[in-house]
Amino acid sequence: MAPIEPTTHDQDPGDETRSLRRRRTVRLLVPVAVAGVAAGTIGLVPALADSGSSDPKLPGVTAEELVTKLAGTQVDTFSGTVKISTDLGLPGLIAGGASGAGSSPFGPGAGGEEDAEGAGATADPRSQLPALLSGSHTVRVAVDGPDKQRLSIVDETSEYSLIHNADQVWAYDSATNQVFHAEGGDHRAPGGQHEGRLPAELPTPQEAAEQALAAVDATTSVTVDGTSEVAGRDAYDLLITPKQDGSTVGSVRIAVDAENGAPLKFTLTPKGSERAAVDIGFTKVSFAEPKAGSFDFTPPKGAEVTEAEDLREKADAAGESARGSFEDLAGLGLNPGDVSLIGEGWDSVLRTELPEGVLSGKAFEKGKQLPEGFDPKTLLNSLGDRVDGDFGEGTVITSRLVNVLVTDDGQVYLGAVTKDALIAAAEK
């Protein structure tokens, strides 16, 4: 670049000022142009990718063909990055408990001294996975058949990894440097529920899609709604819409890989909303066999290892079935036998009963420490709205997808149905 000397030569002063001004104007255009090009590139690229014109052109298929393709997919090896965004509109307290992974609205301070040992901060999957219920998370998955899976929840400065290899299950939480280990068919929760194999437990697109398809019957409309591109792959969009009025589900959309029928993206949108409540989709995917080493795990030096067995023994000894909201419920006697189903299809409502004394707070007093002035009823009322009907009075806790009615005499009704439909079901 030639040296630039705006003020060195003997020129007529007026001339100089004019040329300087012109030069200044021209030069100021340079950063403006650079900014324009940058903004254009940044702004236009996603806009073009989003616009309908770039949707892949694929041969037409019927809904039945697509469902078959999805159901019959032979894909059992894949790896990639999944983005999970959930916006269930849960009351703040519950959502906070979920993201706090282990603290519970039913048992603040529960466990007493054991908490000091870090019982609430183990790498136990049950204390980590509820975090996925709120917000947006990046999850890396690798699957090689039914015996080998790996899943990592990628946080800003930490990572939680869950590795299943044959009869070994390992979990590592880098934030606390703790390891959880379970062996054999033994990886059951202390409370007795079966943990299940990893892919059945975790909301990969595959998993979520299968659940939605299980609900397909006369109550549901299933159509093929165009095509889309997910993680660089061409896909058909399967659109599932409930025909029943009472459901809070607006639509379920599944992007099915045009080549191999693998589900790539799952979106659940509540009725009357544009914003998805659950959005699980690959941002990157490969159907090649993952590297064999991906499924090996050796506990890092210095990490604290919790054995599933020890955890269970400790819990049994303490006379508590578990920690965390779900286990607390189980411990309070919510056995599956107490649950009945009202209604059909999308309008189904689960009915169950709270054990005696929960609402009055009496049930908590044995072996559990309740904070001063803690009243379950007040807590419940602060979470929801008071309603009345044939069932007497109760509280409805609403979210964008699931509504729960707890009556004052301890009946619980839960369903992905509107508040009115829930009350109607309770009145039957």
Binding site: P3, V30, S158, W170, A175, T176, G302
Partner: protein, 304 residues
Amino acid sequence: MLRVDTEERAGEVVTPRVAEPLARPGRSGTLSLFWSELGLTFRRWRTLALFAILAVIPVVVGIAVKIETRDGGVAGGGDGEGPAFLSQVTNNSLFLVFTSLAVTLPFFLPMAIGVIAGDAVAGEAGVGTLRYLLVAPAGRSRLLLAKANATAVFCAAAVLVVSVSALLTGMALFPVGDVTLLSGSTISFGDGLLRVLAVAGVVAASLLGLAAIGLFISTLTNSGIAAMATTVGVMITVQILDAIPQLDMIHPYLFPHYWLGFVDLVRDPVIWDQVQDNLVLQAVYVAIFGSAAWARFTTRDISA
């Protein structure tokens, strides 16, 4: 101190060029201009003080972690709270580098960059040495380029000071050995050092956008203090904007947005997306504010 700078300019830089007016600055001229800028930046007390602060922070963090875990306790209370990677530091000295960078990245490092970049042009204009420089046929573009390069070198040096200090403190206080990555897999200490190098490089590069902004602001005023304050103010404002969830549509375009993305280099396998986005973003900022600084500096009236 300012007087010394003035004399330095008069003695080392300006006089020789005035004495040999026929020598048109070629490649070697550009280089010597860069070296003189670099010398000017790094010989200042201010710069040395900044380096000293940056070097002390890892030592403080290291000692604090050591004291907290002295009797077998877990850093950060064992629940993963506190600065990033705190629970890993006790197991491996290398993690003190990552913790220290995560601690200094939100404020101390960018503040240091703001001071140096903001002062680069405005400081000399304020003291009155700038016009002597411009008498020499070095050319304003060349001078600005030399200053920009010296600022970039300072970014790298500042990150290096934090990293080396953290590495030495870590090796003195904590075990040296195989490194556990965030994903739970283990690599050798040598490979770990390579990751540290990569992380330091990415962190240094992620400060370049702010450096360009500082340099541009520096060409707008004759007051070095005003330019520094404005640059640091811009840095803080943008970080606040980056923390407001309601503004998440603009977040990917804010220069500090991917700063913590260096963490992805400590995973297995490495996730490159954020690092790549960060580098592109910094390049865009450098292009926009670098050209703006050039447009302003080459056309402005320099009277002081």
